[in-house]
Symmetry: C2
Subunit: 664 residues, 2 copies
């Protein structure tokens, strides 16, 4: 209905929601071809997960991405480009005057234009399927859907699949194809090829048929052909799937990427099912009184079937008991009574009611039971199987609420693991979907970075490979910004809960880490010691050999010693002399060779390591260890050891016997 406004013949137009979102794709995450590819994939995969979880079926999802260039696409689409490409070469060259400008500015654009890439995406699941006649309206109409309501849901605005359709319409003009068999009518399979009328925001059916379901298949396969960019978003897609595998360990996820022109680029990622235990589905709940506003109460009153105000408060809101409802109505004052019809409330009365509902503290807190967190067991499994870390600790904090919306924080901290990086790596989930963008301002990042004293839990936040997992589920995730990619740290209740959960994980880790640190120290010491063995052996043998030779040469001049030799106690001098003589004797006999010394050192180190690692020390061979008094002796770097009272002094060197108790 065009109407004029203003003298410049302004034309007033009414847009359909489909037109609006076609023109403002970025709202739904369709910013550019690369992001469009990424968002299409994640929206379809998440729809598939929802389809499985809604009927409590362990998800089995296969994602296929087939990349092709424009020629392949044209053949597939049946577009007539059979003439040799660019017959009229002049059309594709800039005019002379613009050539310079082109080489300055246009190169990037031009090259990206020439690389136009097309993708056939298909996602197949074993979920509930769709009823034959529902398909067009579910997928060919923007702002229609089944996911609205006060409930924990995946997805951003419920626009997902429709935005994929709009993007395919814009970028390739190819309609989407849905093949599905509904869980309650598996005798046939429905196929629907679907377009959308952007102006009317209505589905445009190209084909819609049933065929016999011979294999009793159930589920849905969604196929779409879009422009995109694999190179720029490949890493994100892989990261998304990995994180999805962590937070959805009960799903089997497979991604097959094929490239029509370059088989070398092809890749397959498969995450097998790690758990048979699915979280219970999220329940729809009523609004909590502390979260209401004028519009919402008006809407609730309009829809209510309650006969009286007191019943309305108890039945159409959550957490309101009859006795509290009566006290609230009494407090409302003149013009209100318990038995008045809810629909009789006028705007001013609604305002009064809203003001009161938002202030009353006596209502039962919002109930976290409606939520569907993953569970510690699953989270642990997901992390272990996907990341293979050294240690994991998990924790679920008690349910909380902010502004009337219940939430639950689950957290895990893993140390080490394949592909883990040094430092703190925060992996975030909201309503069980990974959040990949805008990590900087997120409450989980901020708490992990600055509110946890890592060192007090024996964790080195710079050198250890720390993976921090935070999963927040809520009926209303308080995203910041419009991208729905991060949760601000300005909601005290959530910040506190995240901190509490992370601290609980850290506490669990501390004792494990003490053991681990001891083990690591032992390993490090051992490898350090082993490194010394050849040198030490050579030195010791050399010294002993020199001693032997000198003894042989100087036999008789018994008391002549180096000025450095200053035995502290009277008896010691003689004992040292005795030991020296024994050593020399063994050397002369050939039983104390370089090899023997080396073996002794190796043996001593092995024994020490074994005892640290908790192995039975008696498994060792015929060494002196069997003698309870004979402590193994180590060659260790001397600095840092200050008990020199038992040093064995010699005019050429000092032996310091180190008892294994020092290492325990």
């Amino acid at each position: 209905m065009p109407k004029s406004k203003g003298q410049k013949s302004e034309v007033q137009v009414q847009k359909s929601p489909a037109e609006f979102f076609a023109e403002n794709q970025a709202i739904a995450g369709f910013d550019n071809p690369g992001k469009c590819l990424y968002t299409t994939i994640r929206e379809l995969v998440e729809n598939s997960l929802d389809a499985c979880e809604s009927v409590n079926i362990l998800p089995d999802i296969v994602l296929k991405i087939e990349e092709m260039n424009q020629n392949d696409f044209n053949i597939l689409r049946g577009v007539n480009s059979s003439k040799k490409d660019a017959t009229d070469e002049g059309l594709f060259q800039k005019k002379k005057g613009e050539k310079k400008a082109a080489s300055e500015d246009g190169n990037k654009k031009k090259s990206s234009r020439n690389e136009d890439a097309y993708f056939r995406i298909s996602v197949r699941d074993n979920g509930c399927g769709m009823k034959h006649h529902d398909i067009p309206n579910l997928l060919g109409r923007v702002l229609s859907g089944s996911k609205y309501g006060v409930r924990q849901t995946r997805g951003k605005f419920g626009l997902g699949a429709k935005m994929a359709l709009i993007w395919s319409k814009k970028s390739t003009g190819v309609p989407i194809k849905i093949t599905t068999s509904h869980i309650k009518s598996t005798e046939y399979i429905s196929t629907c090829v679907l377009d959308i009328d952007i102006y009317k925001n209505e589905p445009k059916i190209i084909q819609h048929k049933k065929q016999k379901n011979v294999n009793d298949w159930k589920g849905t396969e969604f196929e779409v052909l879009i422009a995109g960019s694999w190179s720029s978003y490949k890493a994100r897609i892989v990261q998304y799937l990995q994180q999805l595998a962590i937070i959805t360990p009960y799903a089997k996820l497979e991604m097959q990427y094929t490239n029509v022109n370059d088989a070398k680029k092809e890749m397959t990622i498969r995450y097998d099912r790690r758990s048979e235990q699915m979280p219970s589905p999220a329940k729809e709940v009523k609004h909590h009184p502390s979260s209401v506003n004028n519009l919402l109460v008006q809407q609730l009153l309009d829809k209510s079937s309650s006969k009286t105000l007191v019943r309305f408060l108890c039945d159409d809101l959550s957490g309101v008991s009859p006795s509290i409802a009566k006290r609230v109505i009494a407090e409302l004052g003149n013009g209100f009574d318990e038995d008045m019809k809810p629909k009789k409330l006028d705007g001013k009365q609604i305002t009064r009611l809203v003001q009161l509902l938002r202030r009353v503290e006596l209502f039962k807190a919002p109930d976290g039971n409606c939520l569907s967190p993953l569970g510690e067991y699953n989270l642990n499994l997901g992390i272990r199987k996907t990341m293979e870390p050294d240690i994991v600790a998990t924790f679920r904090d008690k349910p909380g609420a902010y502004e009337g919306h219940p939430f639950i924080v689950e957290a895990a901290i893993a140390i080490g693991g394949k592909s883990a990086k040094e430092g703190i790596n925060v992996i975030r989930f909201a309503n069980r979907i990974p959040l990949l963008f805008e990590a900087g301002g997120d409450v989980s990042t901020r708490v992990a970075q600055s509110k946890i004293k890592w060192s007090s839990y024996k964790i080195d936040h710079k050198k250890d490979k720390i993976s921090v997992f935070v999963s927040i589920v809520s009926t209303k995730v308080p995203f910041k910004g419009t991208g729905k990619e991060y949760i601000g740290d300005d909601i005290t209740e959530i910040q506190t809960s995240v901190k509490r959960a992370l601290q609980a994980c850290c506490q669990q880790l501390r004792s494990q880490l003490s053991k681990r640190n001891a083990l690591r120290d032992a390993h490090q010491r051992r490898s350090r010691l082993v490194k010394y063995i050849p040198d030490a052996t050579r030195s010791i043998f050399g010294i002993l050999d020199a001693l032997r030779k000198r003894k042989a040469d100087e036999d008789g001049t018994e008391e002549q010693t180096s000025p450095r030799k200053m035995p502290r106690r009277a008896g010691e001098k003689e004992r040292v002399e005795q030991e020296n003589l024994a050593i020399i004797k063994r050397m002369n006999e050939g039983t104390l060779s370089e090899e023997v010394i080396q073996n002794c050192l190796v043996e001593a180190i092995e024994a020490q390591s074994a005892s640290i690692e908790g192995l039975d020390a008696n498994n060792g061979d015929d060494s002196t260890r069997n003698d309870p008094d004979a402590q193994p002796t180590y060659i260790v770097p001397v600095h840092g050891l200050d008990d020199s009272s038992k040093d064995i002094e010699h005019f050429l060197f000092t032996f310091r016997p180190i008892h294994s108790s020092l290492f325990s």
Copy 2:
């Protein structure tokens, strides 16, 4: 039309756009009460600017913000809260078990709850007004509007005033009130009190009447009553108005903030009109072929009144000449001919056409003439009057285009000024509205921070107060992210243009800055010298007086000098002696007093400064400057001056005559 899906009795619902945006307010900038207040103000102010500019009237806009607390609001609204507040105290206290948790988590929430603030916002302009019967549809229906089309427009999604209505509905339940007189029917004033039916996305008229326009008033006044937070967004609102004054110097802007409960907080900001010159209105243009997609071409074909394909290409797109159109059609190949009816093209043919249109380089570049940049003159004025900087340079780069969308970059750089901070401060505008958020990733910030070599333009980017203004206008501003708050730096054409514009500004500044730097140096030197005068005077007089006394005491022992006194040349010794005698003579006569020395020094410094500042040196008084050989002499810190050949040595000190040429 509720339909069931899945066995869990999923209900399929269709939402109206109004419902969608009511639930996803953040998309339109209505994130929280503070941001809602800010966004409401800016949307209304921008609507007013548009209303004036569309009919080429110099805007005169008055914004009134009246803050009140809940009690004031209730009285105003007529809500019955006459009973003493909180009769049933228990309702507002947490249960025992929850008290501790409350003191941990809830404090912040609770206090903010108690501070619920309400705002009556009114914005009045002298613009085109609205026709009586258009008002409800223009303001009471989401996704209706007059601003759609390929054209440079303010605003984000065209949702502005309707979102303000939705927010008022949610937060206060008070409808909006519009008073307007249309420019073509000024005999009456229309008043409309308007609500919106969220489900139907339809206006709900509360009152709609005409009255006689006795004062021949024209324009619109929009009044809305919303919840908000002044303290958290006051700074942003003030900043927004200041920047709006810079980019809209031809507008008179006034903001009056009043507070019902605290008169001390009240404030008024007024920006007078600085220029009578308004930018010409932006023109609507056709799409450029390099910006098309399948959906768009389909839409254009549907709407086209062209009889042939060749006419369609020339008339429904921009930059296509008949000869190029014919070459394009020839290149399209089989199935296409010049005279075919545009509506006959099928989906595959559209795909083929789109592929070709996007690749052809021969089309005339998108035309920047449709755009409406502010103009260098106005930008300069806006900055001068608002910021009062020391120097401003402005530049408008030649129009450019990216992906078929024309754009123009205007830039200004100002040095110094009131309220300017040290370092680089980037002030950004897109289609002549200030961008206040997410500055970090913006192309202007990045270019200013890292692509400009400030030092090579004599600008110190750390110590100078540099204000960088970048205004980008386009038919499609390439915002990044969904918030429409910044422009990415990944579009080469725009990045290059911003850099070019800033460099041009810098180049203009360089010569001015050379002069400025010389001036500043002179000022600094002068103030440094003036500081020395009392000490220097005292010292010199003391020395000369000592000389005089010694001379008087030691008369006759003419040759007796300090060992330090070593005149280099034969004649010099005698000359120095002569000078000393002359000085002593004057001192004895009383014509060389401390006061005389001080006056001489002051005089010399003034003369030097005056000559640097370009004043006529002959304006000075009876000093020795009139003698061409007599150079003024300065007392300066001696280090750094290495021409000691002319030093006047004395046994007590060294005079070094400095010629003014050293400073030039």
